[in-house]
């Protein structure tokens, strides 16, 4: 049973005289225990999709199953079993961190010692001990983000939705937060669905990635599959002196592109491993001055897909 199955989800937002389609027939399935990333340019519909998945808002059409439950009918049961944390989170400003967590835990029906333990664990998991008595309004962006993450594990959700969990954080804090997410993922039997604009983060955390553009799902797969499908290969460049027959390069297995300029040649291969020795042989009549290999990353995938 998949943790989440969405079928042809659509959503439009209506103004007084306008109608804007934000999601168009999005279908996908997320397996239990997976870390699933949703990527896409600004306004692609990621937050809207996460909000529909977490039952905060309703789609106009389509079918949604969360943890085997019909998420458009059994909204209450779904809400008990999931949780969400979003970028730039807000909580009642004049409540302290602990009061906010207590309040959220009450919303989830926790009580007594169980409530206290859940709050303590969440505080410990996101290293909030020194800040429990600070009012929410006095916290920095990073701390607010961590309060929101702490809140999102209070009810021990089976699926955790994280909408840009590291947006607005400095690199150090972002790295820490990623490590904390990783830790929660490993310690608890949980499925994570996250969005991010930071590609190395998606590559580091996600097993599979869905790519949204203008409300449509345009690609889905592991980071490796996406790179291969888009023919985003390894770039190899060679700077040289002497003669070169470019045909020798074009016949190397796995070559996708060759571009030559005086004293320099750039090639794209689907894999770099076996190609390098063949390349070096092709330069038998020349002196190689410099050689370099660029690993493709998700950034390239993003740029390619967002175009």
């Amino acid at each position: 049973m998949p943790a989440l199955r969405a079928e042809k989800i659509c959503k439009s937002f209506r103004g007084l005289f306008t109608k804007k389609e934000v999601l168009h027939e999005v279908s996908l399935s997320i397996e239990e225990g997976e870390v699933f990333g949703i990527l896409g340019p600004n306004g692609a519909g990621k937050t809207t999709l996460m909000s529909i998945f977490s039952t905060l808002i309703r789609p106009d059409c389509g079918h949604l199953e969360v943890l085997g439950l019909d998420a458009l009918q059994k909204t209450h049961a779904v809400r008990e079993r999931i949780n969400i944390s979003s970028g730039n989170p807000n909580f009642p400003w004049s409540l302290t961190v602990r009061e906010n967590l207590n309040h959220s835990a009450m919303l989830y029906g926790l009580y007594g010692r169980n409530l206290a333990r859940s709050v303590d664990e969440a505080v410990a998991a996101f290293e909030l001990e020194p800040h429990v008595s600070s009012k929410f309004e006095t916290l920095s962006t990073g701390l607010k983000q961590r309060v929101s993450l702490a809140k999102s594990i209070l009810n021990r959700p089976k699926i955790l939705f994280l909408d840009e969990p590291t947006s607005g954080l400095d690199p150090d804090m972002a790295m820490k937060t990623r490590a904390l997410i990783q830790k929660i993922y490993e310690e608890q039997d949980i499925t994570v669905v996250l969005t991010t604009h930071y590609m190395p983060e998606a590559e580091e955390l996600c097993d599979r990635i869905a790519f949204l553009r203008e409300g449509s799902l345009i690609a889905l797969g592991t980071p490796g599959e996406l790179k291969r499908a888009l023919k985003i290969g390894h770039r190899i460049f060679v700077e040289y002196e002497g003669d070169l027959d470019p045909v020798k390069l074009r016949i190397i297995p796995g070559v996708m592109d060759v571009r030559q300029s005086p004293g320099r040649v750039e090639m794209v291969f689907d894999h770099s491993e076996r190609a390098v020795s063949r390349i070096i042989k092709a330069f038998a009549e020349a002196d190689i001055l410099d050689i370099g290999i660029d690993q493709p990353d998700l950034e390239d995938v993003f740029l390619e897909l967002a175009r």
Binding site: S51, I57, D60
Partner: protein, 261 residues
């Protein structure tokens, strides 16, 4: 879900209102200052006009009711207002919580604050204007307060409903509604002096009946408190139903997201 868990869902709104209230300096103003000023000016006005003791009682009952109504309606409206001001509405509505949890929990706090205001005003009016607030017996006071609290909850819900349907600024509409209600329910005068159509309107407002009921103890004719209570409960049930529909509608229109931005 165990009964303790269910209870805590109710109490979540009480807890939040309590903390915000105890941390807010305006609480003192809401609870003591404004009600007290209101009572005092009305009481002194009756001295100036040299009205009879019965009339003093009549007017003071109105002033007290108005203060209680205001304080306990805002406690219910705070369900959404606090979250609106802190842009945290989605935190509440992504949790497994229902409209009645929020309303009853917030109402509990409204009842506590409203009762405190009643006590303060009743004691002050007895001290300064010789008003015997127990003239009709304790049961009269309790029924009068209960009716006022239930009516207040409906107004609070109306505020929440208009925010969910029409957005941030819509609460003004709901406050105006409660202003009109006060005008026609005869807070400072018998509804008989209102023009015909407004008199008819006043019959549809529960507060009218609770005021008449409390005043009947001071020799102001008959009352139909059961009808008033029936109306109040009817409005309460209807408001709760509409609130739930408004929550669902806000999930469909995306208002739920816009209010959190």
């Amino acid at each position: 879900m165990s009964w303790q868990g269910e209870l805590n869902k109710f109490l979540s709104a009480t807890y939040k209102n309590w903390i915000i209230s105890k941390r807010n300096v305006f609480t003192v103003f809401e609870l003591v200052f404004w009600p007290f000023i209101g009572l005092l000016s009305i009481g002194l006005l009756t001295r100036f006009l040299q009205v009879t003791d019965d009339m003093v009682a009549f007017v003071l009952v109105g002033a007290i009711a108005l203060s209680i109504l205001q304080i306990s309606q805002i406690d219910v409206a705070y369900i959404l207002l606090f979250d609106l001001w802190s842009k945290s509405i989605k935190q509440t509505f992504v949790a497994p919580i229902r409209g009645y949890h929020l309303v009853l929990g917030a109402m509990l706090f409204g009842v506590i604050r409203g009762s405190a205001v009643f006590l303060i005003l009743a004691l002050a009016s007895s001290r300064f204007f010789g008003f015997d607030f127990l003239a009709g017996g304790l049961v009269t006071v309790i029924v009068f307060l209960a009716g006022t609290f239930i009516t207040a909850a409906s107004i609070g819900m109306a505020v929440c409903i208009s925010i969910l349907l029409f957005g941030q600024r819509a609460d003004v509409a709901a406050w105006s509604l409660s202003g009109i209600m006060m005008l026609v329910s005869g807070v400072y005068y018998p509804v008989e002096i209102l023009p015909g159509p407004l008199q008819l309107l006043s019959k549809s407002i529960p507060l009218t009946y609770f005021l008449e009921y409390y005043r009947s103890a001071y020799g102001y004719g008959s009352h139909q408190v059961l009808l008033g209570m029936g109306l109040a409960l009817l409005y309460f049930a209807a408001s709760l139903l509409i609130l739930n529909l408004a929550i669902e509608r806000a999930r469909t229109t995306g208002m739920m997201l816009r209010l959190s931005e």
